[in-house]
């Protein structure tokens, strides 16, 4: 029987916006083990950046706290849990609406959850007011064989 490829990592850092780049680059380096395309990697980085920004700006409202990322690789899928122990989200449905933001004065666009949803395959929000928020999102990385097939089809189409 063939072994299923599995891996796991945990990352914790304080809620400073200068750690956003650190977080997304680290997750990308972890995800690289699944051999994603540049585009898939860029999708993951963007989704992580949105989630971490939310923890810092909304969860902790720029006060100090800990942002935690747990990453799993399972076969060809990456599953990420990004959480804070900040103030929580009062109305999740409202927060998910495109362009809805509670902080328009900070030039926030209100597109965070929309981007996470469309750049990843799945995205779930669990939140308790006063206790914090956890985002779980996953994305399947296409195996290389399929990608090569696609490239081949593109070449033969021309």
């Amino acid at each position: 029987m063939k072994d299923i490829f599995e891996n796991e990592m945990k990352l914790e850092f304080i809620s400073r916006s200068s750690n956003e780049a650190f977080a997304r680059v680290t997750v990308a380096a972890f995800a690289a083990q699944l051999d994603p395309t540049i585009e898939e990697l860029s999708d993951i980085k963007t989704a992580v950046s949105e989630a971490v920004t939310n923890c810092i700006i909304h969860g902790y409202e720029n006060k100090q706290g800990i942002v935690k990322i747990v990453g799993h690789l399972k076969e060809n899928e990456i599953i990420l849990e990004i959480s804070d122990t900040g103030k929580g989200i009062e109305n999740i449905n409202m927060a998910k609406e495109p362009l809805y933001t509670t902080k328009p004065n900070l030039e926030r666009s209100g597109m965070g959850f929309t981007i996470m949803e469309s750049f990843m395959d799945t995205m779930e929000i669990e939140s308790i007011v006063g206790l914090g928020t956890k985002i779980t999102m996953s994305k399947k990385i296409k195996p290389k064989i399929e990608k090569e097939d696609e490239d081949f089809q593109m070449i033969t189409k021309d």
Partner: protein, 107 residues
């Protein structure tokens, strides 16, 4: 971010060279607003050709600069959108408001 002002055309060009996220937009915002006020251009162009990463902070930053440009009577445009930058701007509908400059010649 680099900037250049073309006196004869009253054109102010910002070439963004950092990754755009919540952290870096604060710097971009400060510099852009300061220079717009200083030169009072008729047209402002943001060049995204060197941007390797952008998240939704870029949308908020651009909407803010659009408002600022309007306030000082300048037109705002964007140029050299990379595939990933374009995708994020398109999701927000912001490109219905802000035109994309074709063939920006920057020396």
């Amino acid at each position: 971010m680099e900037s250049k002002f073309y006196e004869e055309d009253k054109l102010l060009v910002f070439k963004i060279t950092d990754e755009i996220d919540d952290c870096s937009v604060q710097k971009i915002r400060r510099k852009a607003d300061y220079e717009m006020e200083r030169y009072m251009p008729k047209k402002v162009v943001f060049d995204f050709g060197c941007v390797t990463f952008m998240d939704s902070a870029g949308i908020g930053m651009l909407i803010g600069r659009y408002k600022f440009a309007n306030m000082i009577g300048a037109k705002l445009e964007v140029s050299n959108l990379t595939q990933s930058v374009k995708r994020i701007f398109e999701m927000s509908g912001i490109l219905k408001l802000i035109p994309v400059t074709q063939d920006l010649q920057v020396s």
